[in-house]
């Protein structure tokens, strides 16, 4: 135990490691906040110049960037309705309406504290229950990943405020857009129209910037004369009583975040979505309607995506399997340093496990410190006259999209998605399900087909497996319950509208 504590505190005691974690977290927050600069990209770049460093120094910097980046994505989601990262998509649903009401400072303050709590829960579970959770996630078969992704898509359908069918339409459209390009299993072309540019698919970051950023610019052009809402910056730091009030919810959503984050191939995006749905269903009287500035929605999304960081480290450190894209890159970095993460890591190299845990805890603390600084400057962005702000955001959209793979084709994709997103928004569709569909589509596709291949394409056997395995049964039941309740709710809503 004392040895574990000693390893845990290495990053805290060594000034150089302490500084590297701090600088990594600070940079991560701003990388995460800028659309087009992804944490995965940043960590990949870090490998190129940290491979000659000591492994502890490299890991310290990467942990900081990872932790800070996941949190940073919420900044632009709240202020500009442009999520800095896919894990911040759900944050925008209630964060942006809060900024429109003049509560951007409060929203950022709350999201910072809750991200800290979420991160802490993730690390605590990583510390205490890593082997148990790893074994649980190993029980997930391809069909379960398919069901999990399908559940995510049904959730997005229910997120669509105006109509269930509009939510389903956008989710399905997203899945289809995610199918464009070469089939990952057979390399067969799908929806490419024999065009070379379409073989690599539609870059989801470009789509995300288009559907959220550019579409929002076009919507805002209708409100050029509306004076910007004055942001209330008096109470940025949430009170202790407020934190206490939301603690039960944040602990529940953090747990969802850790479990989803620990599933190989999933990440903060699905975690925040499931947590948001949990909050929507469990909170009876939110501060505002969900999707219109409910603090509970913001808390659910932010705790879950930061808790998913700790979750993503669980399969990486205990099984050698990446929990998400960033941990896949970090595994690469460990290999470069001659370290093989896996089941033997806890026994053969416990110092590395406990050092990583200690380092993530330190990075999480820096998220709280750096996250609470600069809020007033950030919040003033939304007070800037729209005539100045909108061209600047457009340039950021162009540069952010171009930065993904230095291609102007991506910029045209961004424009096209933004234009479609504008019309969809004006006609009462939500664009978040499209993005989630693009992200979840490939996971659904590969998982479903692997599940089908495992039963030799026998559809009845596949359907039986959906209900005969405990994990699959829980997920299948959840989908059905969700679908039925959503249909009932939608019908009740329509009946109420007719009665009005």
């Amino acid at each position: 135990m004392s040895q574990a504590l000693e390893y845990f505190s290495i990053g805290w005691m060594d000034p150089q490691l302490f500084f590297l974690t701090a600088i990594g977290t600070f940079a991560g927050i701003y990388i995460g906040a800028i659309p087009g600069l992804s944490v995965t990209m940043a960590v990949s770049i870090l490998i190129s110049f940290t491979f000659s460093w000591d492994v502890n120094e490299a890991l310290a910097l990467m942990a900081g960037v990872f932790m800070g980046g996941v949190y940073g994505g919420s900044r632009t989601a709240i202020l500009l309705n442009i999520p800095g990262a896919p894990s911040a998509l759900v944050t925008a649903l209630d964060g942006y309406p809060l900024a429109l009401k003049g509560d951007a400072g409060r929203a950022i303050g709350l999201s910072t504290v809750m991200s800290f709590i979420g991160g802490l829960v993730g690390i605590l579970i990583l510390m205490i229950a890593a082997p148990i959770i790893s074994n649980f996630t190993l029980a997930f078969a391809p069909r379960d990943y398919f069901l999990l992704a399908a559940l995510g898509l049904f959730l997005v359908g229910s997120l669509s405020a105006e109509s269930l069918s509009k939510g389903m339409f956008c989710g399905a459209l997203g899945v289809l857009l995610g199918m464009v390009g070469l089939d990952p299993l057979t390399a067969e072309e799908r929806f490419t129209f024999d065009t070379l540019e379409l073989t690599s698919g539609i870059p989801y970051i470009a789509a995300m910037i288009g559907f959220f950023g550019f579409a929002e610019i076009l919507v805002q052009l209708h409100h050029l004369d509306v004076k910007p809402v004055r942001q209330n910056l008096d109470k940025i730091l949430p009170s202790l009583s407020l934190v206490k009030k939301y603690l039960p919810l944040s602990l529940r959503t953090s747990s969802i975040g850790v479990i989803v984050g620990a599933l190989p191939g999933t990440g903060g995006d699905i975690a925040s979505l499931l947590a948001y749905d949990h909050a929507k269903r469990s909170v009876k009287s939110p501060t505002a309607k969900f999707g219109e500035g409910a603090e509970e929605g913001l808390i659910a999304a932010e705790t879950a995506n930061n808790a998913a960081v700790g979750g993503a480290y669980i399969p990486m450190l205990t099984l050698g399997m990446p929990g998400d894209a960033v941990t896949a890159v970090i595994i690469g970095a460990l290999f470069i340093h001659g370290i093989q993460p896996g089941p033997l890591m806890l026994t053969e190299t416990p110092h590395l496990f406990w050092f990583t845990v200690g380092n993530l805890t330190l990075a999480n603390l820096f998220v709280l410190i750096f996250g609470l600084t600069g809020i007033s400057i950030f919040s003033r962005i939304v007070q800037c006259p729209k005539g100045i702000l909108l061209p600047l955001i457009f340039v950021l959209c162009v540069v952010g999209t171009y930065a993904i793979q230095n291609s102007l084709i991506d910029v045209y994709w961004m424009l096209g998605c933004g234009f479609l997103g504008y019309f969809l928004k004006r006609y009462g569709f939500q664009v978040a399900p499209i993005i989630l569909g693009i992200i979840l589509g490939p996971l659904m596709d590969v998982s479903f087909r692997r599940a089908a291949l495992s039963v030799q394409n026998d559809i009845s056997q596949l359907l039986w497996e959906f209900v005969s395995n405990p994990v699959s049964l829980v997920l299948t039941s959840a989908i059905f319950v969700l679908l039925i309740t959503s249909v009932i709710k939608s019908r009740q809503q329509k009946a109420a509208e007719r009665a009005d």
């Binding site: 509009k166 339409f169 799908r190 102007l408």
Partner: protein
């Protein structure tokens, strides 16, 4: 003062069809049907692990939901006569801004990032903000400097290089 959310609520609570909405949802249905046939074209109903299975499933959901949306929208009362498509969806400022954006992307490859971005920011700010060219000039210069420092100098992002620049 009315915020955007309030405006949206007012629009939603009117419960009439928005201008052009019926044509838009009809177009979505057409695209959905096309997507269904394209999905079928990938591998037909060959097997459940074929590359076309999930696209077929997704496009079926697309068609079904598009049909429901069409039924919902076509049953709504027509939009009030004072609401026009041009006013609600394509005001002049939006068309001009979109055109400016297209021109900016076109000149990016000709002039390169710095001159093209400065020109775009200056013209767009002058057009949208209408507070004189001096303010537009300094705002554009500052914005460009910040973007260049953050993206190019700090994060080493490659920015578009124009024909003249190279």
């Amino acid at each position: 003062m009315e915020t955007r959310t309030q405006t949206d609520h007012r629009e939603a609570s009117a419960r009439t069809r928005k201008p052009g909405e019926h044509l838009f949802v009809a177009l979505l249905l057409l695209v959905s049907i096309l997507a269904f046939f394209l999905s079928y074209g990938i591998s037909g109903f060959a097997s459940i692990s074929a590359p076309g299975t999930l696209p077929l499933l997704a496009s079926s959901v697309l068609v079904a939901s598009a049909l429901t949306i069409n039924r919902e929208v076509w049953s709504l009362p027509s939009p009030p006569p004072d609401q026009s498509f041009a006013h609600m969806l394509t005001p002049t400022v939006l068309i001009n801004f979109f055109a400016l954006g297209l021109i900016y992307i076109a000149i990016l490859t000709l002039l390169g990032f710095i001159p093209a971005t400065f020109t775009y920011l200056f013209v767009a700010t002058l057009y949208l903000h209408r507070q004189g060219w001096l303010l537009a000039f300094f705002v554009s210069l500052n914005s460009l400097a910040i973007i260049y420092i953050v993206f190019r100098l700090i994060f080493k992002v490659i920015l578009p290089e124009g024909l003249l620049e190279s």
